[in-house]
């Protein structure tokens, strides 16, 4: 009896709470005959999220037309407003004589959201990420100073990187810096250069930057491939990495944990460069060949099958994207990934130059002092010594 009473009470409570919620979800549009209401328009102007399904899908139904034999048959099942709505939401089948499939999209309003994102959060958060990274490194340098070599150097050197490895590294590094600078000029030129140096200077920088960005990208991709092939074997995580991470790699504190050719920190850099660099390359190629390599509709469809977007509150991601929308998403993704990688690479440049004594030699001449090698890559040094001993002819 008590259970029944509780069930009645519960259902009454649910109905009281749920009915107004449902009414809120589906606004009453009978006054406008199903068309948008003043509150819809005001909400849109306030840039609030409006469910526009009642317009998007209201594009007429020719099959609902009266047969031509009937009195009103010639009017058909679709009206001019239906056609305009279909044009507005890019759901009408259009044929164009020039411009290919892309030109068949007459209205695509995602450009405004993309522009707002590019001029707003992308510049703001991206800029602060880079400045914050530089600030953190300056602070770290002031607190920790340069990481030196403990004790005396031996004067004996060991080859850390062969010429081909250094060649690929510098090709990757040089191209990434050029791509980073030209990318930043493209994003910040309008607010950081134009007001101070004028249109002419900004224009020259942008035209030159565009050529450099588009052309140098191929060198970056080739170098990325070279580096991946040459170093992937040395960058597979192993148990030694846990010890290295526990001791903060000797960067904080006085310990110098043993490491192979690459320590855990370098592995993080390697995989960041490969994964972020690979993602930047893929989205970059999509942008280099506009509309030829759409990536996002298929990616979204795959993500939807995993249920991940709904889990994080993004709902079901759209899987039918206009060609222009694909480009907007590719550009946004390209820039986000680039900012993250730039921030990581700035830290890498710091540790490879002013942050650690002797680190530059590894990529400069390729030769490092044995004391440095023992301090930072002791397992690798032992292996190299064993190899050298094995190659020496027996006496």
């Amino acid at each position: 009896m008590l259970r029944i009473a509780f069930a009645i009470l519960w259902s009454a409570l649910v109905s009281v709470v749920a009915v107004p919620a449902l009414a809120q979800d589906a606004p009453d549009r009978t006054a406008t005959g199903g068309a948008q209401t003043l509150s819809d328009i005001l909400a849109r102007q306030e840039q609030m999220k409006v469910d526009d399904g009642f317009r998007r899908e209201n594009t007429g139904d020719p099959s609902a037309a009266k047969p031509t034999t009937e009195q009103l048959g010639t009017l058909g099942g679709a009206s001019d407003p239906d056609l305009w709505r279909a044009l507005r939401y890019d759901s009408v089948n259009i044929r164009v004589s020039a411009g290919g499939d892309v030109a068949a999209t007459l209205v695509q309003d995602g450009g405004m959201a993309w522009l707002a994102f590019r001029e707003g959060p992308l510049r703001t958060y991206g800029g602060w990420l880079l400045l914050g990274t530089i600030g953190a490194l300056v602070l770290f340098y002031l607190l920790r100073g340069r990481i030196g070599v403990d004790g005396e150097t031996t004067g004996r050197t060991v080859t850390r990187f062969k010429a081909i490895e250094r060649f690929a590294h510098w090709m990757l590094a040089g191209s990434f810096i050029l791509l980073g600078i030209t990318g930043l000029l493209t994003l910040f030129g309008r607010v950081g250069i134009l007001p101070y140096l004028g249109h002419e200077v900004n224009s020259v920088l942008l035209i030159g930057g565009k050529w450099i960005h588009n052309s140098v990208s191929w060198a970056f991709m080739l170098a990325l491939l070279m580096v991946f092939v040459m170093w992937v074997g040395h960058n597979i995580p192993n148990r030694g990495d846990i010890i290295w991470i526990k001791q903060f790699g000797g960067i904080i504190g006085k310990n110098h944990p043993p490491a192979k050719k690459f320590n855990a920190g370098q592995k993080v850099i390697f995989w960041s460069v490969i994964l972020f660099g690979g993602s930047i390359s893929l989205s970059g190629v999509s942008l280099l060949f506009p509309y030829a390599l759409p990536l996002f509709a298929k990616t979204f469809a795959f993500l939807n099958t995993t249920g991940l977007p709904e889990m994080v509150g993004l709902g079901v991601l759209p899987t039918e994207l206009a060609a222009q929308e694909e480009m907007q998403l590719a550009q946004a993704w390209h820039a986000i990934m680039a900012f993250v990688l730039m921030s990581i690479v700035i830290a890498h440049i710091y540790i490879g130059s002013v942050g650690m004594e002797g680190a530059y030699d590894a990529m400069g001449s390729g030769e490092v002092d044995e004391a440095w090698a023992h301090q930072h890559h002791s397992i690798w040094l032992d292996e190299e010594k064993a190899k050298a001993a094995a190659q020496q002819p027996a006496e």
């Binding site: 004589s97 020039a98 060649f167 510098w170 450099i212 052309s215 060949f289």
Partner: protein, 44 residues
């Protein structure tokens, strides 16, 4: 240092070659937005 400069030189060579090849195969973003009935001028 020599290897470093060789790497930088390779960037320049690849960039010029990429620009030339893409030009030769008639690829340009402007062409992707266009059709046979549109004249784009000598630059493309």
């Amino acid at each position: 240092m020599k290897v470093m400069f060789a790497g930088f030189a390779a960037i320049f060579i690849i960039a010029v070659a990429a620009d030339f090849v893409l030009d030769e195969i008639g690829f340009a973003a402007a062409e992707r937005q266009s059709g046979p009935s549109v004249r784009l001028g000598d630059a493309y």
